[in-house]
């Protein structure tokens, strides 16, 4: 692992009575693409603003390369940010916007123009260099904003939901541009987003936040397949959470009994099952097997089909379990068309025990 570039050490941020960020501990490595993700109001943007010096932590320390950053004003840091609103200066043209940071560092006019044009060229918008900011399209503005932040060659780039205003096609293209840039430059990207697809597509590591706390930190695949708690399981992906009490354990297998029956679940994570305790497990919607005939044995629930959501090659089916709860299944569209399901018709969902993920009582 590379060295830690940024360390959050028991950082707390309060606004009056409201605690936006609560005892946050985590490190960001050099050259890492890290995404901070969570619903609105979870404290992700506050975390980013503290990194940029736009907010001061109420408690704890933020260190960058070992140096305490708490009281360093924003203009003395080298933590450029790409804003959700882009915050481009409307009274400057594209090139002048990119030059701004260099001008503040006292780079002479000729050198900064050369540098700005290089960056505009690198981001494939050199033809718009002398254009008024307001005459550029969303994607072009985005590139100007990126160039403006990267022109000073910082060690770290902060991105605050930069793609949220763009249309879906453009988002995909910008994502691949961002990941390519980050790899080429080798600098740290801290990317705040509420979009799971953006976070998972680009980041090396994802920090999931909920109400000022870190709910889970991990690689996208781990977070997707092995959520540590109910919040992450509900926030990430299409998961079914089934609750009950622990009936028995044997080896790496636990039996959970609830209103939907008895289920065998493999466990191996942080949570240790205790017989008699309340416990839950997660079964992802895309790991479920769907059939119209009753499977012979194993984990299964008999459901009725309520509705379907067609988004392309994958279809999400919303089923109703016997206790009235909702059960989601994701299958390929071509599989579904072979199955001949009827509305309110009987279907069976089943899964292998090692597909389910034990999350304990939380």
């Amino acid at each position: 692992m590379a060295d830690a570039l940024v360390e959050f050490d028991s950082v707390v941020k309060r606004f009056g009575d409201f605690t936006a960020v609560e005892t946050m501990n985590f490190t960001i490595d050099e050259g890492e693409f890290i995404a901070i993700m969570g619903p609105s109001g979870c404290g992700k943007t506050t975390t980013l603003r503290m990194l940029a010096g736009l907010e001061e932590p109420s408690e704890g320390e933020i260190r960058m390369q070992g140096r305490v950053m708490n009281h360093l004003p924003p203009h003395e840091r080298d933590t450029p940010m790409v804003w959700q609103s882009l915050a481009l200066f409307p009274f400057l043209n594209a090139r002048e916007n990119v030059e701004f940071g260099l001008e503040m560092r006292g780079v002479d006019a000729a050198a900064r123009t050369k540098k700005a044009l290089e960056w505009l060229d690198r981001l494939e918008i050199s033809e718009f260099a002398e254009r008024d900011i307001n005459s550029l399209s969303g994607g072009q503005k985005q590139r100007v904003a990126l160039a403006r932040s990267l022109v000073t060659e910082p060690k770290i780039l902060l991105l605050d939901e930069p793609l949220s205003a763009l249309d879906a096609n453009l988002v995909i293209r910008m994502q691949s541009m961002l990941t390519r840039l980050q790899r080429e430059l080798g600098i740290t990207f801290v990317y705040v987003t509420h979009s799971q697809s953006e976070a998972f597509a680009m980041a090396d590591r994802v920090v999931i936040m909920s109400r000022g706390h870190i709910a889970q930190i991990g690689m996208p695949r781990d977070i997707y397949r092995a959520p540590e708690n109910r919040f992450v399981a509900e926030f990430v992906g299409r998961n079914n959470i089934i609750s009950g009490t622990v009936k028995s354990t044997s080896g790496k297998m636990v039996t959970i009994a609830g209103s939907l029956g008895q289920f065998k679940v493999a466990f191996g994570g942080a949570h240790q099952p205790v017989v008699g305790d309340a416990a839950s497990f997660v079964i992802a919607a895309d790991l479920v097997h769907l059939s119209t005939t009753k499977p012979k044995a194993g984990n299964m629930i008999e459901c009725s089909l309520i509705s379907e959501e067609f988004i392309g090659s994958v279809v999400t089916l919303f089923l109703e379990a016997p206790d009235g709860s909702e059960f989601k299944v994701q299958i390929q569209e071509r599989e579904l068309s072979d199955m001949d399901l009827k509305h309110m018709g009987r279907v069976f969902v089943s899964w292998a025990s090692d597909r389910a993920h034990f999350i304990g009582a939380c």
Binding site: P74, H75, F89, F100, G101, S135, T152
Partner: protein
């Protein structure tokens, strides 16, 4: 809805939107009518009369209708007219510069450093001076600026003065500021309060020091409002009679004083009209120039 009661006026539903559209147009026209009438009767018509009057002549202290260029040649060929013109423009420009500069720190503090509630109270307090007559406010300066007035009395304690402040250009500028400063602070405050804070943060984020941010980012963003405020300040000062007359001592006269003097000396209404028309033309140029500068967009 009297129309819908009429049997022939209730055709197929397809017609109703058009009818309603037509009626709302009429309604909007009716709403506009009072202002059109008002402006026509009390602005356009007097203005036309003013221009026409500048071509009238005065015989035996009586104004008679005519169309002669005499008044224009008489006024525009006199040095005292151009001296007065230069003085009025100079004083109004100076007042505009001083007021804009003095207002900025106050407006900046109100817009960026105060809470919403404090700002609202401050703006309310800035409106209060307009409750009292401008003339009363100007006379109150007599007490303060006179040779035996408040300021000289205080300066006397530290063995300074007395300074002559009444009947000077300084007095005129103080009067102009009394008239325009609260308004300019209010306009500047609104203009600054509307600035997108994220742009200011972005400047800091890119390494711009707070002071430099004001010059490099805040002022360019507030440009439109600041120019409009300055134009107001210039227009009000340029046309003001009270301050140069009572605090400035009326000599040498500014254009508004010249108008009064010209009317008083031999009923020369037509020559006063010439001065008034020249003033209006000047103000039109300043106002249009100012607004053009305020809304000028960068060209790619």
């Amino acid at each position: 809805m009297s129309v819908s009661n009429h049997p022939t006026e209730t055709p197929s539903p397809g017609h109703t939107p058009i009818r309603r559209r037509h009626r709302s147009d009429l309604f909007q026209q009716a709403l506009r009518l009072p202002i059109v009438i008002w402006q026509g009767l009390f602005f356009i018509a007097p203005l036309c009369f003013l221009v026409a009057m500048s071509f009238f002549i005065v015989r035996n202290y009586r104004m008679t209708e005519a169309f002669e260029m005499k008044n224009w040649f008489k006024m525009l060929s006199r040095d005292y007219f151009w001296d007065s013109y230069g003085l009025t423009i100079g004083l109004a420009t100076l007042a505009t510069l001083v007021v804009t500069t003095v207002a900025f720190p106050a407006a900046y503090t109100l817009a960026f450093r105060m809470s919403e509630v404090t700002r609202r109270w401050a703006i309310f307090l800035l409106i209060i001076p307009f409750f009292t007559s401008y003339l009363v406010r100007i006379f109150s300066w007599y007490v303060i600026l006179a040779e035996s007035g408040v300021i000289n009395a205080m300066l006397g304690y530290i063995e300074l003065g007395p300074y002559v402040m009444l009947n000077t250009k300084f007095g005129t500028i103080i009067g102009y500021m009394t008239l325009t400063l609260p308004l300019v602070i209010i306009l500047q405050t609104f203009s600054l309060a509307n600035i997108d804070r994220r742009l200011v943060e972005a400047a800091h984020n890119l390494g711009c020091r707070p002071w430099r941010t004001i010059i490099r980012v805040v002022l360019p963003l507030a440009k439109t409002g600041f120019i409009i405020a300055a134009v107001f300040c210039f227009i009000l000062s340029f046309g003001d009679f009270v301050s140069p007359y009572y605090l400035g001592g009326s000599k040498p006269p500014t254009l508004p004083i010249l108008i009064v003097d010209t009317v008083k000396s031999g009923q020369q209404w037509p020559r006063a009209a010439v001065v008034a028309v020249v003033m209006m033309v000047t103000l039109f140029i300043v106002a249009f120039g100012g607004i053009a500068a305020a809304y000028r967009r960068r060209t790619a």
